[in-house]
Symmetry: C2
Subunit: 237 residues, 2 copies
């Protein structure tokens, strides 16, 4: 007669993430650190070093541990990264909305804000989510989509679509901020045009590939509003 069903088949770290483990009453000698502290340090390291600068060795060093000691807290780098990611993402904190369209707008805007706080989050390869906060975000999106009248299949597709779009907009924004202009030769538009790529040539010529992070906001908005328009339109086929 436990109040919560426990996820017994998961690793210890994942069970902790789901709130199934009381860290106080673990057998054996006390850990020098809590799993929470390890994950917080992981977030901090990612924040400092970006996605390329993260490693178990550096994380261990920042915690005054040896690298292999991390394996007392976590089963693999992969598991640790999933939990660090989930920690950085955090719980969704969304106001209740009467209009499902506003709920979707808020969801997208708020998620994008998280990406701005931890930009490396947008760069880690997408996986199907199995961690608590990631699933809480998915849950928070599925609800308004249900209210919109989408069936289960469509809800899942739409959630994927929106989630990807927010991340992709974040990546585009960061990429454009960080790209040195030297990455592309001055005459690149000419090169493109001579090879028949008129549309991208015009794009480069317009400077839209240059860094204008403020206007990226319109990119996110375009996708969300276009999505909402599409759903609102009653289907014919």
């Amino acid at each position: 007669m436990t109040e919560h069903p426990k996820a017994t088949d998961l690793s210890e770290a994942l069970r902790w993430a789901w709130g199934d483990i009381d860290q106080q009453q673990r057998p054996g000698p006390k850990r020098s650190l809590s799993l929470e502290a390890v994950l917080a340090a992981g977030v901090a390291l990612y924040d400092q070093e970006g996605v390329a600068g993260f490693s178990l060795a550096r994380l261990a060093k920042s915690l005054a541990l040896t690298t292999n000691a991390l394996y007392r807290y976590v089963e693999s780098r992969e598991e640790l990264e999933a939990l660090v990611r989930d920690t950085a993402l955090g719980k969704p904190e969304l106001a209740a909305m009467v209009d499902w369209q506003d709920a979707v707008r808020q969801w997208a805007r708020e998620l994008e804000r998280r990406y701005r706080v931890h930009s490396w989050l947008a760069y880690v390869p997408v996986r199907i989510p199995f961690t608590p906060n990631a699933l809480a975000w998915l849950d928070a999106l599925l609800r308004p989509l249900e209210a919109a009248g989408l069936d289960a299949e469509a809800r899942l597709a739409a959630a994927g679509l929106l989630d990807d779009h927010v991340r992709a907009c974040a990546v585009a924004m960061f990429d454009l901020e960080g790209s040195k202009p030297t990455q592309v030769p001055d005459n690149f538009p000419d090169v493109l045009q001579a090879r028949g790529l008129e549309a991208v040539s015009a794009l480069f010529r317009s400077g839209m590939y240059a860094s204008r992070p403020a206007e990226r906001q319109t990119m996110l908005e375009f996708g969300v509003e276009n999505f909402l328009r599409g759903v609102s339109t009653t289907r014919q086929g």
Copy 2:
């Protein structure tokens, strides 16, 4: 009076990719391999080993070279990967369409087909494209979007949206195919429900997270059709 403007500021490998270099007339001793052969071997290695199994060492071995010899062909692993990716992507081969909506549908379907041929392609982190084939795909999408009457800003946003969606659908498809059922405990829906995540709980319970690759097709279709509906609807605000 050259027929093509050359992209002079790019590395040698990139200039080759843009067709600016005649491999025959290079100074110095002859290479034992062509850059083309190196890239083809790179694609083959990715096809065999997936995104995690690729390394310069293995690539070199498959070419009967030492690892460091690769640096005669390419400036870094990053550059090599960009070119291998571009090679696997290939030129878009799309039939001319009178209807811009059909052109977009064809573009998405054909791109998804490429991902199915080289599934690892969907997993490499997204970057702003600068290579010939990647930009040719972008060009092929921008044209129908222009015909749809979207302005430059909206075209770029829409192109990003569609490109991301195709990739995300491919990833979801592959992930669901490959996920062992043991990754999630049997009582996971109960665990989710007990924590208030009713919507995702229902999702897991419905088995929609289980592998049904055939139905993934509907996910891609949902996004594309919803996009088209959204664009077709004249805006009010």
